[in-house]
């Protein structure tokens, strides 16, 4: 925190030290993992497989199927579920949020229902979803959809509600009709909040995906993670966890990139 000099050499030294420390930390972590599993054999492979074994499991499962499909198949199934669930949720949440922010009567009607449903964690819907839609695509899409729906709805609503009234009045003075105000003023002004809502929602949706696939599924990455635990093959679980992490990271990066493109006026 407290620095004495700010010369470029000093900064470069700090930066280099940071890179070295960070790299050695990651390498040290993997080495320790390797040490306690393979080299010293302190922890049996049934408990924690070595990093080497995890690596080869990922490699092997690309062409050897687990359950019904190979690794690509499971990744594809999970991606499909999250995509369909997200699209449906966004398709309902964004228009509804805009309308609720715009028409006060609709807001009054929807608010009590939403306030009752919102505090229920999306994961708590899983048993009911299975009862209603079975263990196929339907129940997963439903649960992921609920996960994505509420953060997006709330943020869209807030985005519309908190648009600077002066902007709206200015547009109206200049002769804009309701439709124009909505399209030219409200929407652009609320896009940053909507995008933030989508980002939170998709993060939550990923968690819902994993939970739904853990509880009841016969394919997908969550199924892989569960199977690893059930069959005492933790390397399979870790494979699924790594892939889920990568997908989550990619999804987040993608949303951020799109947001930057759409909201070009905001730095």
């Amino acid at each position: 925190m407290a620095m004495k000099t700010f010369g470029p050499q000093f900064l470069e030294r700090i930066y280099r030290e940071k890179v070295v420390l960070s790299l050695s930390s990651v390498l040290g972590f993997i080495f320790c993992w390797y040490l306690i599993t393979d080299i010293l054999g302190l922890i049996p492979a049934l408990f924690l497989p070595s990093p080497e074994k995890v690596f080869f499991t990922i490699y092997e499962k690309i062409y050897i199927p687990v359950g019904q499909s190979t690794l690509f198949g499971h990744v594809g199934v999970s991606l499909l579920r999250i995509l369909v669930g997200t699209m449906i949720a966004l398709g309902i949440a964004i228009p509804l949020g805009i309308l609720m922010g715009w028409y006060e009567d609709l807001d009054s009607v929807m608010q009590p229902i939403i306030e009752v449903l919102r505090p229920i964690p999306p994961i708590a819907w899983i048993p009911l979803a299975i009862l209603w839609f079975g263990i196929g695509l339907g129940s997963k899409v439903f649960i992921i959809g609920i996960g994505v729906f509420f953060p997006t709805l709330i943020n869209t609503y807030m985005g519309v509600k908190f648009v600077d009234p002066i902007l709206i009045k200015a547009a109206q003075t200049l002769g804009a009709r309701d439709k124009d105000v909505l399209r030219e003023v409200i929407l652009p002004a609320s896009v940053p909040l909507i995008a933030a809502g989508i980002r939170i929602g998709v993060g939550l949706g990923m968690m819902c995906l994993v939970a739904a696939e853990l509880v009841a599924a016969s394919s997908g990455l969550g199924y892989l993670i569960m199977l690893g635990g059930d069959d005492l093959k933790p390397e399979l679980s870790i494979t699924g966890m790594i892939l889920i992490g990568i997908i989550g990271l990619l999804a987040d990066t993608l949303i951020l990139a799109v947001e930057k493109k759409v909201v070009y006026w905001k730095k």
């Binding site: 994961i123 048993p127 989550g248």
Partner: protein, 266 residues
Amino acid sequence: MAEARKIRSRRRFILSILSVIVVLGGWFVLTMVLRWVPPAFLPPPQNILTDFFRLLNKSYVGHTLIGHTLVSLQIVLGGFLLAVLIGVPMGIMMGWFKRIEAIVDPLFQLLRPIPPLAWIPLSLLWFGIGISSKIFVIWLSAFVPCVINAYTGIRLTEPLLVKAALGLGVKRQRDLLREVAIPSALPVILGGVRIGLGSAWMTLVAAELLASDAGLGYMMQMARRALEPSIIILGMLIIGILGAIMARGLKMLEKRICPWVMDKER
């Protein structure tokens, strides 16, 4: 103006009440009068109420409703408190000491994208089906937001405040941290604690759905197998209400601990 506002808020109130009545009424008509929806699919609303009173003193899959609730609360609070006690100091250290940040942060970034829920099967393998596996996963889920927010909060300390303190003769790092950085980071830290609690509550439900022998999630899972949706919905409502109460409680605590933040909001 005042008159117009009064009329508006009354209109709002009436519409809200009407909406609740229509939803409950529609639900009742669909299930009880028209009987379009079989009760194994969606029970009539009053069944949830009767189940609530029935399970208050009669045990269902091992415990009464209160018993299941207490089991769940105990686990979630245990894991959550552990996460706060370890996560917040760790985040503060990461934010304050560059070296600790350089060592811990990359590991953290490596593990962070994995949803805590995905650890459940491994945790079951490591700790068994009992309480410790659930505490571990819940700890993990609340730990991450606690660390991130504490870290961010410290990093966002206004440099001017630090300089002012230095100028006023604060010599030791420890005093700077305790008197300047931590108080200024407190709102962000508490925000992380609140996110952590929500996350912990959600993870608990997932863990109980998957492998448990008591708790609200377990009760719902058993009710699903027995095709008793009214008990599932009862469980969902209790989970929702408890989650909302806990969030509200933390918010009040936040107001107590740092009252100056609330003045800024709104």
